[in-house]
Amino acid sequence: MSDLQRPGADWELQFVIAGCAEKRLPIEIIGSGSKRAIGRPVDGTVTITTASLRGISLYEPNELVMSARAGTPLSQIEAELAARGQMLPFEPIDLGPATGGPQGAQTIGAVFATNMSGARRVQYGAARDHLLGVKGVNGRAELFQVGGRVMKNVTGYDVARGLAGSWGTLAVMTEVTFKVIPWPETAATVIYLGLPDNLAVELLSAAMALPVEISGAVHLQAGVAARLNHPGLKSMNKSVTALRLENFSAAVAGRKHRLKEALKVYGKALELDHRETLEFWSELRRLSVMPNRQTLLWRISTKATTAPKLVAAIKRYMPAEAFYDWAGSLVWLEVPTAADAGTAEIRRVTAIHGGHAMLIRAEPSVRAAVEVFQPLSPPLEKLTRGLKAAFDPAGILNPGRMYANV
């Protein structure tokens, strides 16, 4: 067990990092630790948790903006927002249940540090799109702030957004400022059953091209749909293709009608009402259809139109079950365990079809041995090393978390 530090103030964090920088001690950075089972394992002499950097420092519902200390639990943020009829626009996904970690434990800092977005991303953008400002401490123990609290801000480089998805390898965020949106008055889901992957993705793309503002567009292969909680949908033994509409009631009703008219060649549609819609999408948000078991889980980002071909190509090498999110352009793929986590085949197929793949669930020994994140092209790798050195020249912040030796 490494030395656990819980700084309660920015200066304490600076102090700890300065000490480690001087001695070149590697630091593992965590929020609640719920994502420790994802990415490459870090062998830290010191562990820093942001858990004591906690609290909402600013919330202006009329300006759609909130600031919170990085260690504030996401659940607290969402409760505060819900009390004022608002929410995070990007529906951050909770990978806890799928990776053997706790559910609902993640911190707001970790949400942005890993750029975790859920189904609503197709309409509203990713976590990084809503990140307005960051305060943090880099590997030089410098406290800095970038961005701000206003919606439009091009003052200097967009470093706040640049820190999103850096997995704590560039800086430890101490406070994040982000944009929020109002909860829609109502929501509904339109579902088509039994479509093969290629037709389902065609349907999702057709729906996204309509001006009805689809806020969730997913396809679950039959085996995956059988793991849903919804009693009707799980027992159908058919694939489930679902589209979410959110708006004021009359608009949802009108748009649902237009959507079904436009998609009627795909068969008869089922509908989920407001309550069922909330349940269905909250299941997907916890990725409960990809439960933690002795299998591997991959996350593949590609063009929607190539996604079914990519999945079919991987299936030639190994059994695989797919859950397509983001209108088909994000594939959660479950495959059996293998010594190299299927890396050789999956990366080769992804390279042929275009896109990138990340290994989400595997034993620590596997994640330490294979490339977990998409390997970088040589020029991108050079920039990556340069950026790492600019923030953390001693290489002490989450070393090896994303790439070996970075």
């Binding site: 990084r128 030089r140 439009k152 640049g162 009359a250």
Partner: protein, 488 residues
């Protein structure tokens, strides 16, 4: 206006200008190089016209390979480079130095791929913003960011400045609509980042490059999101007897859960000028006018407009005029869209671009009026109220040196005010040379060091778009400080 000094040109470079021009001609052909004085004069300024400086030469590449060859040569010859799209920058972002090579992207303006199923378009960066929407509108799509210069400005310039526009309240700014790009670094290396996928791999270099004001490299191609057009969009015009009432109305609309596509604000002086020019039917006796636009299907926009009018009634509006037809909508927008041009017909103006938290609007507007009065200047306000992005237009006479100087000083005071209330120096125009020396108002030395080290990662010798973004004093410190070049 001469407050912002540019770095002194390198005499040694000027002395070998003939040889440099010959080399450039050999690289991409004589027809791609402009070296005659009258030709270079056309590139001496952008839309911040108070600053002018012809460059050493202008090159107009036709391809990524051309750009790569030119940059590699410039790096080897230690030449400064100023990238340029259409030259519509309002902050001097494309202002040359006498010893710099301007690389203009105007010849690289092709649409490379439209993919309506995956809803993306890939273009060369010299294409105009509006031409992107034109390329996809027949299929019912549009490209969302809509800076008011969209007829002329290039998407390359939009990427460099992370441009916004009136409709970004709903659709976000450039960075929210970019999926991938091809960038040529100063050493000639071509790097592809992201692609036609929603998330890019690894560090978010897209976020860093978009808004880097041409200081990281030259982006030659980009893949953008395109969105389905709403069936209809309708504005409603609301006139108020005070800016407080208008500001509170904006907050109440957003707080109610409605996100309009645009909320535009004009004050009395702006209304008068816009109305005189465009005959849009604006009320001349109100202190503040809001144009609130909603979109959706016909029945939805009717309902949303009713809701907005109901909210507005709580703030005692003097005028409520909801658009009843497409012609009516066009008339309401005509005055707002013409406001800057109309203002330019009656006076020179200096357009500011600070952003503030919306709740501070009334006090900021009254402070702006005070600041301008103290400097014996008139001011008109036309801006994007939904996101707090102010555009005070300070009126002055460019031929009166003292007045021009006072305008620049008043402008700086206004921007400091924006920062003091929790906002920022620039919401969508960029820092360029204009706000360069105010950066220390918003950022501490370590904040600036964090940014400057990223610049060094991409351009270790600081050859790209020199003299912009950072105060010259901070640059001098950085040059002495080994940390800034360490990453190289």
């Amino acid at each position: 206006m001469t407050l912002s000094r540019m770095p002194e040109p390198d005499r040694a470079v000027l002395d070998r200008s003939e040889a440099i021009i010959k080399d450039l001609e050999a690289l991409i052909g004589a027809d791609g190089v402009i070296s005659a004085e009258d030709g270079r004069r056309a590139f001496e300024a952008d839309a911040l016209t108070a600053y002018r400086q012809p460059p050493l030469a202008v090159v107009l590449p036709r391809s990524t390979e051309d750009v790569s060859k030119i940059l590699k040569y410039c790096r080897q010859s230690d030449l400064k480079v100023v990238p340029r799209g259409a030259g519509t920058s309002l902050c001097g972002g494309a202002l040359p130095t006498a010893d710099a090579i301007v690389i203009g992207t105007s010849r690289m303006n092709r649409v490379l791929d439209t993919d309506f199923i995956n809803r993306t378009i890939t273009v060369e960066c010299g294409i105009t913003n509006l031409a992107i929407t034109d390329a996809v509108s027949a299929e019912g799509f549009f490209y969302a960011p809509d800076p008011s210069s969209q007829l002329a400005c290039t998407v390359g310039g939009n990427l460099a400045m992370n441009s916004g526009g009136a409709h970004c309240l709903k659709y976000g700014v450039t960075t929210n609509n970019v999926l991938g790009l091809k960038i040529v670094l100063m050493d000639g290396e071509v790097v592809e980042i992201g692609g036609p996928y929603l998330d890019s791999e690894g560090y978010d270099f897209l976020a860093l490059i978009v808004g880097s004001e041409g200081q990281f490299g030259i982006v030659t191609e980009t893949t953008l999101k395109i969105l389905p057009k709403a069936e209809t969009a309708r504005p409603v015009m609301l006139g108020f007897s005070s800016c407080e009432a208008a500001g509170q109305c904006v907050a109440a609309i957003i707080g109610s859960g409605i996100i309009p596509v645009a909320i535009e604000y004009m004050d009395k002086p702006a209304i008068a000028v816009a109305e005189a020019y465009a005959k849009a039917g604006y009320p001349l006796d109100v202190e503040a006018l809001l144009i609130v636009e909603v979109e959706g299907f016909e029945d939805e926009t009717a309902r949303l407009m009713r809701d907005i009018v109901d909210i507005a009634r709580g703030f005692d509006p003097q005028v409520i005029e909801a658009s009843s037809s497409p012609e009516h909508s066009a008339r309401i927008w005509k005055g707002r869209k013409a406001a800057f041009g109309a203002m330019g017909r009656i006076s020179d103006y200096y357009c500011m671009d600070g952003t503030i938290p919306l709740a501070r609007l009334p006090e900021v507007l009254s402070r702006i009026a005070q600041i301008c009065a103290e400097h014996r200047l008139k001011v008109a306000n036309v801006f994007h109220a939904g996101d707090g992005n102010l555009h005070p237009l300070i009126l002055y006479d460019a031929n009166n040196e003292d007045e021009a100087r006072r305008a620049e000083i008043a402008g700086a005071e206004i921007l400091k005010l924006c920062v003091a209330v929790g906002g920022c120096l620039t919401g969508e125009h960029g820092v360029g040379i204009e706000k360069r020396d105010l950066m220390e108002v918003q950022f501490s030395p370590s904040d600036l060091a964090v940014q400057m080290r990223i610049k060094s990662v991409f351009d270790p010798h600081w050859l790209l778009n020199p003299g912009k973004v950072f105060p010259l004093s901070a640059l001098a410190t950085a040059a002495e400080h080994p940390a800034a070049s360490e990453a190289a």
